[in-house]
Every structure is written in C-alpha cells, then in structure tokens.
Subunit: 107 residues, 2 copies
C-alpha cells in the first residue's frame, strides 16, 4: 500500500474526529502511542510491537491530514534513494549515536 | 511509494548505522524528531513541517528495520479500511479527545 493510500484511508476513517480533536490533542495522542511502542519493545512482545507500530504510523497520518501535509510527498522529497546530507547510498555521514541538541554548541 | 519500499530504502541507506546505534538510541532519536515536528507545527513553518514529517516516518522505518517489523504489513493488519475497534468506516466509536491512561480506572 502506498504511503498516500494509507493516509487517505486514515482520512476516510478518522478525519472528522481528528479535526474535532485538533492538532495539539492529536499530537499528544501520537506521543502516547510512541510510548506504548517503547513499552512493547521493552517487553519484547512481537504481536504488541507490530500493533503499536501500526498505531504510530496511523496517528502520524492523522496528524498529517489535519496539518494538510502529504506524508508520501514529504518523505520522498527528503529521502529519495540518497542520504539527504551526504548524497550517497548507503549513507557515509560521520557516525554519531545520539542526535546533537540544536543549541548544543561550544564556543 | 509503498510503505514497504520506503522502509527498504531506509534499510539500504541506514541499516548498518541503525544496527550499530541500537534500538534504544534509535528510539530516542525518533522521539527527538517528533519534538522537532512539534516545534515546526508550533512555528507554522510549512517547509519545516514537511521535512520533520519526513524525518519522523524515516526514523520510524529505521526503528522497524532493527526491530524486524514490516511496517506496511503491521499497518494493514490493524487498519484495513475499517476502524479496528468499531469495524466501521468512518469510525463510529464514542468520541474521546485524549487517550485514556491504561491504569486510569475509577473503582
């Protein structure tokens, strides 16, 4: 299934509710689903892990619908067979384990 | 692009790095990307919002790769044209704005 088809299915199923809930509460729900995914991964429960991955991408699609973003186009625009930073495949960027904080700059 | 194709592209680009980083640090990176999406939404910057949506789905795919989950199959297994709870389209479940806490049960 195309990313866009999945997003459209979510729109058919949930758009009216997502709009009524609003962006802030929908974002919070997505955050909660991500925490449930973390718990499922920690518990190593394969069935739960799969269901929670489904919920995270579903709520991400819901959030994209109410913020009027085409998730597939956004994904392909940034990631299109090459790393967006080093422009190579596989990525050859310098390996860092954790994402540096935006304002974490020593003088 | 199919969800699975996108996940495979992420695997080609980043699997070796994602494996080296590990599940915990990759999850943390995904959480950080979600916070960046929140900031972009708050700032109402359309270009940034699209890029941050791309990053969130990219890191979700990376996490799926190293936890050996097929994101497309997981999504379709749970959400397949009908709401998984009420089995209707559009969803007809009782509307609640916020996700109830799992242990939030009054006696």
């Amino acid at each position: 299934m195309h990313i866009q088809e999945f997003q459209e299915m979510m729109k058919t199923l949930y758009y009216a509710r997502d709009q009524e809930r609003g962006i802030e509460a929908t974002f919070k729900w997505l955050e909660d689903e991500l925490q449930e995914l973390k718990e499922a991964i920690n518990e190593k429960d394969k069935g739960s892990i799969q269901k929670e991955f489904a919920d995270v991408i579903a709520w991400l699609a819901s959030l994209a619908n109410i913020t009027e973003v085409n998730l597939e186009k956004a994904a392909i625009n940034k990631y299109n067979s090459l790393c967006p930073k080093c422009k190579r495949s596989p990525c050859q960027c310098i390996f860092i384990k954790a994402k540096p904080a935006v304002f974490d700059q020593t003088p």
